[in-house]
């Protein structure tokens, strides 16, 4: 009698794969908009000339008036206000600029200094012609060539930031995401990492600060930005990367600004989210490889046993 098993196997594999294709790739393609990454090139923003960090420093500390709101801890400039008061005043705590030069794209930083609402893609919320000013005022120039001045400031920020090989996931996340998004799987709150407290009073005081900060943020953005603890599982790397590149693509009208990170910082942010939401991924890979090797050997022995048992039966 003809052995039909290969044909049966083909039929089963065919219908299984067909069903898989229809309910997974095909259905998800129908349900979700898909955007290709632009590689964090920010093509819509103008490039900036080469800057001079020394002149930039004078501008940042002086005419640029950056330090009126921003801390630059690496240059020993403290924050003018604590995070909670800052958020009450501006809606969100202005970032410490220590590592802005390493995390954000240079073109983006240039555009941001010149016209924050435009660079952040929140002009639908902050329309200067309607008197809706972005909390960060635009830089109108210090008397010289404004583009050169901006380039100098960017060069200064890059000069004080950590070098590329020293950029850690934590620095990238805290600078780019952490003032709006919590990540409670790694104990991150919008006002910093939650320490261990000995006294319950201290803990409650900290939590009150977080809640007050979150209230300001909610008022500023319309809703509290989500906790990112396992966004790596719920959204995935591709979505997160293309979303931060241009949030308006996915959610028209969202208050989430364009983040403006460069490609390296984006990878670091992803790594941070993986450490938070998929912490055992390396173990999964190594255990997976070993289990696969074992199970193939198991299958080979099962086959050999069957051959032996069935030798007499044919």
């Amino acid at each position: 009698m003809k052995n039909k098993e290969p044909l049966i196997l083909v039929v089963i594999v065919f219908f299984t794969l067909l069903t898989y294709y229809l309910v997974e790739p095909f259905a998800h393609h129908q349900m979700h908009k898909h955007f290709e990454s632009e590689g964090f090139a920010y093509k819509d923003l103008p490039s900036i000339p080469k800057g001079d960090a020394a002149r930039g420093e004078a501008l940042v500390m002086g005419a640029g008036a950056c330090t009126g709101c921003h801390a630059i801890k690496s240059a020993n400039v403290p924050a003018p206000m604590d995070a909670v008061s800052s958020a009450a005043a501006y809606g969100v705590n202005p970032p410490d600029l220590s590592n802005a030069g390493a995390v954000f794209d240079a073109k983006f930083l240039g555009s941001l200094i010149k016209n924050p609402a435009h660079a952040l893609m929140v002009e639908h919320k902050f329309d200067a012609s309607k008197g809706q000013m972005h909390p960060m005022p635009p830089f109108y120039g210090a008397g010289g060539d404004i583009n050169q001045e901006i380039a100098d400031m960017v060069a200064y920020l890059q000069s004080i930031a950590v070098s590329k090989d020293k950029l850690t996931p934590t620095i990238a996340f805290e600078t780019a995401c952490g003032r709006c998004h919590a990540d409670h799987y790694v104990k991150w709150t919008q006002i910093g990492e939650k320490p261990m407290f000995k006294r319950k009073q201290d803990e409650l005081a900290f939590e009150t600060n977080v809640l007050n900060y979150q209230d300001s943020l909610t008022k500023y953005l319309g809703k509290l930005p989500p906790d990112l603890s396992i966004y790596i599982r719920s959204r995935g790397e591709h979505y997160i990367k293309t979303f931060v590149e241009n949030p308006q693509n996915y959610l028209k009208g969202t208050a989430m600004p364009r983040v403006g990170v460069n490609a390296e910082a984006a990878d670091k942010v992803i790594e941070y989210l993986e450490d938070s939401g998929d912490a055992k991924r390396h173990e999964r890979e190594s255990v997976g490889r070993n289990v696969m090797i074992f199970i193939v050997i198991f299958a080979i022995f099962a086959l050999l046993w069957k051959k032996q048992v069935w030798r007499d039966l044919h």
Binding site: E5, T19, A302
Partner: protein, 404 residues
């Protein structure tokens, strides 16, 4: 009282008290299986193995899971996934096995349909198998509630709403099932109980019934041939193993089963480690939020065909069609009027009925997941009508079938 003698060995000691030799004969060495079978007959063993994987992984998940609406989500996604050593492994095994077990159940079911293994004395095998399908469905659904993510919550909302019975407005029944006006603490706790105790107990009992139902009519074979099991067993025991039409359950049948299980496990662990996304929907990694519906709500893939039978109709007709789809498979042995127990390929119109049903159910499955926009709505509507039509046609086309 039975007569006991001094035991000559441990086996003898046990034999006097538990008749282990007899048990071994009845359950294994002289439990006769037809030889004329292919690897599709190993699906039962694969299901046993998968159920064992679910049971073992479930036991370890149970050690850290917290059935509390405030803690459940993080106990799964943080404690088990990040803190507990190998917790991620149990969870991935559990999640993937819960999905794959339905693939094997469907293969097992369609094997039975194709070879007519529900006919002539084998009706109870089919019916107990369908009861197992229902119990597994309930187990899968209740388990899906436990991580308390967005899909858990909204699937719980939508499915329990089905019990309002459309125009019957049995809202009291819905609230009784939930123990609250919406899925909340009482709901999570009772589904936890169902998932870890009541339904597994029912499944284990039904597995016993399913196996028991096989004993008298015996396992079917590839050609539906009626085998004289006693005569063939004698032949085997007399030494004519090659000439006999039957084989021992163990080790003959087991050896082949384990070979198929080996291949299956390669596939299974590939999914566990490298392709688990299909079994763990990304939306369920957002915590449950009763005030925000996900953009798309869909059940797991194995429920999609029946969900799609519900969806294209207005509420009441949809519910009736849905109820029809849930019970109609039970009636298969009685709707098939043909006297033939042979593969579908030799059964005239039934051959086409089989493939039409299989393809229609795949179309329903696909349409159940995509958003209800055109042309999918129309395709789903006609696929649902085709499903109902095929079942109505079944008694007529099988009645016309000639005896082979």
């Amino acid at each position: 009282m039975a007569h006991f003698t001094k035991a000559t060995s441990v086996k003898d000691w046990l034999n006097q008290r538990l008749a282990v030799e007899k048990v071994e004969k009845v359950m294994m060495s002289e439990y006769w299986i037809p030889k004329n079978i292919n690897f599709l007959w190993a699906m039962g063993m694969i299901l046993v193995v998968t159920f064992a994987l679910l049971l073992v992984s479930g036991i370890f998940l149970l050690m850290y899971y917290q059935p509390n609406v405030n803690l459940a989500f993080d106990s799964v996604n943080y404690t088990i996934m990040s803190e507990v050593d190998f917790g991620w492994l149990w969870r991935h095994v559990h999640g993937v096995a819960a999905s794959v077990v339905f693939l094997i159940i469907y293969i097992h079911m369609f094997t039975g349909i194709y070879y007519g293994s529900y006919k002539k004395g084998r009706e109870m095998i089919w019916i107990s198998g369908m009861l197992l399908f229902v119990a597994f469905s309930a187990e899968a659904f209740s388990g899906y509630m436990l991580p308390w993510g967005q899909m858990s919550y909204w699937a719980g909302m939508v499915i329990t709403n089905l019990f309002s019975g459309g125009s019957l407005h049995a809202d009291g029944l819905v609230e009784w099932i939930r123990g609250d006006y919406v899925p909340a603490q009482a709901f999570l706790n009772r589904f936890f109980m169902l998932h870890v105790l009541l339904i597994p107990l029912a499944i284990i009992g039904l597995i016993g019934l399913h196996f028991g139902a096989l004993r008298i009519p015996h396992v079917n074979n590839q050609d539906g041939e009626e085998i004289d099991f006693d005569a063939e067993a004698k032949k085997y025991l007399a030494g004519d193993k090659a000439g006999s039409k039957v084989i021992r359950f163990a080790n003959d049948f087991m050896a082949k089963d384990m070979m198929v299980v080996g291949v299956y496990l390669v596939f299974f662990f590939y999914l566990v480690f490298y392709n688990y996304g299909f079994a763990m929907d990304p939306v369920n990694f957002d915590p449950a939020n009763g005030l925000k519906t996900p953009t798309h709500i869909y059940p797991e893939w194995y429920f999609l065909w029946s969900y799609e039978i519900l969806r294209p109709f207005s509420t009441n007709i949809g519910l009736i069609a849905f109820a029809f789809a849930q019970v109609i498979f039970f009636a298969l042995p009685f709707l098939d009027k043909s006297p033939n127990t042979v593969p579908a390929s030799r059964r005239g119109l039934f051959k086409y009925w089989f493939w039409a049903m299989l393809i229609d159910m795949i179309i329903l499955t696909a349409m159940g997941k995509v958003p209800p926009v055109e042309p999918f709505g129309t395709i789903g509507f006609y696929a649902a009508l085709t499903f109902i039509g095929l079942w109505i046609a079944l008694p007529f086309i099988t009645k016309m079938e000639k005896k082979v």
